[in-house]
């Protein structure tokens, strides 16, 4: 594994499977009465959030605490892009404090890459979402969720997603989740189809390792998982599509559409869900929908990533069992 996790595209198949397998081990910790491992005791991790995201920050924080790391939350909302120096200044402050890892969320694409590659800081850098670029741990938790649902918790160990057909629906243009998922799912052997109105597909998408369709109905019967992306309401004013109603009619997932999916197929959503436009309540609340599991799996994945980037070479869980005695 590399020292940083900036992009899902940086992961090899073996890296990715190792993370998923490690996350299964980590998930077992959550089933115990004491949900804590001493693995990262004495290590300091900073959650550096230039952009609001309570969900992601809490998920990382839970993962860090379960691994016994010392956690510092640093929220710099609003100060990010307008004042360019702030990222470098903050990085150097953290460096002076001897931080071991920085989990960074930033509104500007490439900010985590700059942080990791500019010589400003020596710590490991984990991208928790940058602009419209990447959100690699989200892609990992999505893949983890799919592997569990489509292959099985134990049967999935060591497996990738070869042959699985995944449809990603919605605002691909502005979505770091879509970019990360296309990269990772391709690495794991899945076939990805993006579905969106042409206005929400980036120019240049033809170089991505996936198919693109403007028609949701025709793709549904042939997919194993359909992943709904968030569509922000302000896109409507920017003429990406005519009306919310029209978007929902063409690209929203309702009960009728869900019925076109194969029996085993799952519906995924990175949350928070905007019910009505992109997904109806009926779909969101069905057992087909994995949104809640995705949240739980997020903690396991982030534990696995932190452990593998910082924890050294020994197995995470077996090592600690002896300590528990």
């Amino acid at each position: 594994m590399q020292r940083h996790l900036i992009s899902a595209a940086d992961l090899t198949r073996d890296d990715a499977v190792l993370i998923l397998d490690t996350a299964e081990e980590m998930a077992r910790v959550a089933d115990r009465p004491i949900k804590k491992l001493p693995t990262l005791r004495g290590r300091t991790i900073v959650n550096l959030f230039f952009e609001d995201s309570t969900r992601t920050r809490i998920s990382f924080e839970a993962a860090e605490k379960r691994l016994s790391a010392d956690v510092i939350n640093f929220t710099a909302k609003g100060s990010s892009v307008s004042k360019g120096e702030s990222l470098k200044d903050t990085a150097q402050t953290l460096e002076a404090m001897g931080v071991d890892a920085v989990v960074i969320r930033h509104g500007a694409s490439g900010a985590p890459y700059r942080l990791a590659n500019s010589g400003w800081i020596d710590a490991a850098v984990i991208n928790a979402g940058d602009g419209t670029h990447q959100h690699p741990t989200q892609a990992l938790l999505d893949a983890f969720t799919m592997r569990r649902r489509l292959i099985g918790r134990d049967a999935g160990i060591g497996q990738d997603l070869s042959g699985k057909r995944i449809t990603i629906v919605g605002d691909v243009l502005h979505s770091r989740v879509a970019r990360s998922n296309v990269d990772l799912l391709h690495t794991l052997g899945a076939e990805v189809t993006l579905v969106a109105p042409p206005t929400l597909v980036p120019v240049g998408v033809e170089s991505w390792p996936c198919a693109v369709s403007y028609d949701l109905d025709s793709t549904l019967p042939k997919c194993d998982a359909v992943m709904m992306l968030r569509v922000q309401r302000e896109r409507m004013n920017a003429a990406f599509f005519p009306t919310e109603r029209e978007y929902a009619r063409r690209y929203g997932l309702d009960g009728d559409r869900m019925a076109k999916l194969p029996e085993h197929a799952v519906v995924m959503h990175p949350g928070p869900m905007v019910r009505g436009m992109e997904i109806t309540a009926e779909v969101a609340d069905s057992d087909r929908c994995t949104a809640v599991e995705q949240v739980a799996n997020g903690v396991s994945i982030r534990m696995a990533v932190l452990y593998l980037l910082l924890g050294g070479n020994e197995p995470a869980v077996t090592h600690t069992r002896t300590e528990e005695k």
Binding site: E85, G110, R114, V203, G204
Partner: protein, 428 residues
């Protein structure tokens, strides 16, 4: 009067000749000229060109003297072989009045490294709404002939039409920064395969091409002259080629960096590659080189855009756009145009001196290297190979995309009206 004998220089890349400078003018060009009473510069094997002229320089003074001043900028120009630069109007205050352009012009004269021709703003405050006093700027001591809102596009079609018509009264030209503003909202880099992957806001080629298409049609309609700044796409080349074939009075410039670098470099997220218009694709680069060679693109202009370190040492989105270029322009042109066989040195003289001087009406520059002409000259060691080291730059800012890169050629001497501004690579 001081005499200088430049001995054995390949004038415009041709056979070696001696060039005798007497005072401010070239006295004689020939072989075996007498060195009597003259300081001798041995130029064996070097190429002698008319002093370079840059139609697109940002000197930042007044207002951003932390980035560059007229003094540091003209020293950088002399280092790069330039004897005249046209200073863009986007300063603070904006160069939209006779007072500001005269100040810039006078500073250039006082420092004496390079003639500074201020460019006047087309509209008040570069705001695109109201024409600036174009006539007053022309009649000022600065004698402004080139007008531009560079940094911003004159996107209102009516204002652009009026500006084109108005400057006809005194033979001026409007230099357009072609960027359709709505199509480039939030733009961070060229829109294409790389932007899709990096998730950076796209600056589509059509935003440049649509404005160029509109402006050549406007120039045609009102019978005026338009100049296109830093043309950057293959499609823009096609439009200019078409316009010229129709007899429309359009000229165009390309920057050195658009002749060499592509948007693949943005993968580093290093803001040193952030520039407007953005670095484009390999296909565009090749089309620009061809167009410069065949004359569709008339000139090379640097778009020298100095920025202090802190404006580049940050995340991509927060960084300023622009690159310094005066001190590396000739080397990049040698690498991309001469060493590739697309242009000979006479062609370089044409694209970097003769034509820009003509477009900007800098009389006295871009003249033939022959007796009786002003001694504005540049001597180039074309055999030199070396890595670019910004620490040695005369420019106050060091935002060069070529740091550490090997580039050919080095300007060793520059003379402005017979006075050396650069000797053996050192400023006087």
């Amino acid at each position: 009067m001081s005499k200088i004998l430049i001995r054995g220089a390949k004038v415009l890349g041709g056979a070696p000749q001696d060039v005798l400078i007497d005072g401010e003018t070239i006295a004689e060009v020939g072989s075996g000229l007498s060195a009597e009473g003259a300081e001798v510069v041995e130029a064996d094997g070097k190429v002698l060109l008319p002093g370079l002229v840059d139609l697109h320089t940002h000197l930042r003074e007044p207002g951003r003297e932390d980035s560059e001043t007229v003094l540091t900028g003209t020293r950088a120009a002399a280092s790069g072989g330039y004897t005249a630069v046209f200073a863009m109007a986007n300063t603070f205050p904006v160069a939209d009045t006779a007072g500001v352009v005269e100040q810039v012009w006078r500073l250039g004269r006082e420092h004496g490294y390079c003639d500074v021709h201020p460019i006047g703003a087309v509209t008040v405050g570069l705001e695109g709404r109201k024409l600036a006093e174009l006539g007053a700027m022309h009649e000022s001591a600065a004698g402004v002939t080139v007008f531009s809102d560079d940094g911003k596009c004159v996107d209102d079609a009516v204002i652009m039409r009026r500006a084109l018509e108005y400057v006809k009264a005194f033979g001026g030209v409007v230099a357009q920064h072609a960027q359709e503003p709505r199509l480039t909202e939030g733009a961070q880099m060229n829109e294409g395969v790389v932007s899709a992957e990096l998730g950076l806001g796209g600056w589509p080629a059509v935003a440049e091409e649509s404005i160029i298409a509109r402006d050549v049609l406007l120039a045609d309609h009102v019978g005026s002259r338009v100049h296109i700044c830093h043309l950057s796409t293959a499609g823009s080349v096609e439009i200019v080629r078409w316009a010229k074939s129709r007899g429309i009075d359009v000229t165009a410039e390309v920057t050195p960096h658009h002749l060499l670098l592509t948007d693949e470099l943005v993968r580093t997220y290093n803001p040193v590659y952030k520039v407007n218009p953005p670095l484009r694709t390999e296909r565009d680069v090749l089309a620009l080189r061809e167009a410069l060679a065949d004359g569709t693109i008339d000139i090379v202009a640097t778009d020298h855009a100095p920025h202090p370190h802190e404006d580049k040492d940050c995340e991509w989105a927060a960084a300023a756009m622009g690159m310094v270029g005066l001190e590396t322009a000739l080397s990049v042109v040698q690498e991309t145009m001469v060493d590739t066989g697309l242009l000979d040195w006479a062609g370089v003289a044409d694209r970097m001196s003769v034509k820009p001087a003509r477009i900007g009406q800098a009389t006295g520059h871009g003249r033939p290297v022959s007796a009786g002409e002003p001694a504005n000259l540049t001597l180039v060691d074309t055999e030199y190979r070396g890595r670019v080291d910004p620490a040695g730059f005369a420019s106050r800012s060091r935002n060069t995309p070529y740091e550490g890169r090997e580039l050919p050629g080095r300007v060793t001497h520059t003379w402005l009206r017979g006075k050396a501004t650069l000797v053996d690579g050192k400023l006087t």
